[in-house]
Symmetry: C2
């Protein structure tokens, strides 16, 4: 296209490959980079390369870790309860849970969820690593914290089945009304779940 020079066209194409970045957004970002100081573009470029070169996977929990740091900081932390393993789909989920400060056990990252429609079976996930980990003993509870959607539920059910008697407790995070949410606007499935998951109120 006239007016679109090669280096800019190439950058637009590359940005366009990122998830959620359409053609228009890619153009806007590319022209922002053009206007921005060269240092800013170079810093982003360096960070992109570094993330591929300096990131490895923890041999215990399969979460990302800095290259050379294996097991990862969480798995190596003696203050973290090794008897409790929280299973999540993605490294971002670990981040979200860590932010709450609620969980002091360890993690296992599956790197996805079972999705027959996308051709993703258990063999494509880090399931065998989890089972091996549990079989070495010392694990009292596996908390299934996969997403509360179709794929996440299927994955949780599959794992609960596979874990069987290898671990005393297998639990699933609660599904219910989000805090600050409004009952009136809740979808039916969430509402049903929040009834099914109701707990007796302790009284004095």
């Amino acid at each position: 296209m006239a007016g679109l020079i090669a280096p800019v066209a190439r950058l637009i194409d590359e940005l366009n490959r990122l998830p959620g970045v359409g053609r228009k957004t890619a153009q806007r970002l590319a022209y922002h980079v053009l206007r921005a100081p060269a240092d800013e573009a170079r810093a982003l470029a360096a960070a992109l390369v570094a993330v591929k070169e300096e990131v490895a996977y923890c041999s215990v929990c399969c979460n990302i870790t800095e290259a050379g740091v294996d097991p990862c900081a969480i798995c190596a932390d003696p203050r973290r309860d090794a008897a409790r393993i929280c299973v999540v789909e993605e490294p971002l989920d670990v981040l979200a849970i860590e932010r709450t400060g609620e969980f002091r056990g360890r993690y296992h990252v599956l790197h996805g969820a079972i999705s027959p429609i996308d051709g993703i079976g258990p063999d494509r996930l880090r399931v065998s690593e989890l089972l091996a980990r549990v079989r070495t003993g010392g694990v009292e509870e596996v908390i299934l914290a996969t997403n509360p959607n179709l794929e996440g539920e299927a994955t949780a059910m599959y794992l609960a089945d596979q874990l069987g008697a290898a671990v005393p407790i297998v639990s699933r995070i609660a599904r219910g009304l989000p805090v600050g949410g409004d009952l009136e606007y809740a979808d039916d499935v969430t509402l049903i779940r929040s009834f099914q998951g109701r707990r007796q109120v302790e009284r004095g």
Copy 2:
């Protein structure tokens, strides 16, 4: 934050500096890069660096051009009418107009618009280059195609004033209802403009 390793944190920070990319989006993009093939990350990094190194500005129209290609492809094209100059704010605007195929003249890119609130006066734009270009003669019409917003209108008025008698015709692109738009939902200013800009219908 626990779970957030240094190279990933750095990439999130850098992505977060892009316009319209919030913290959550930056996280999502960073983890996408982590999962993506290393080649994809490297290609994006290379494109970012290249765009700063291989892009220059045309000494005639101030639009971006490939380094070493000066004047730019449009200014160097003898089929483009040198007597008609379309003034736009940004290189992206050139792209948008070129896409229509409607305009066969040349461009002048201001690289911004007058915005007193942001401290951007005419001296920060490529205004003197435009005036010098027009004064060398041969220009019959300058089409002011700055954005139809406050800054764009102010810039157009300023330029119309500055161009004065140096060019026979100074025109402004039409403002009115967008094609496919709905009169009922048009804002008042647009509706007023579309009445002010009405044209007599030719009848046989």
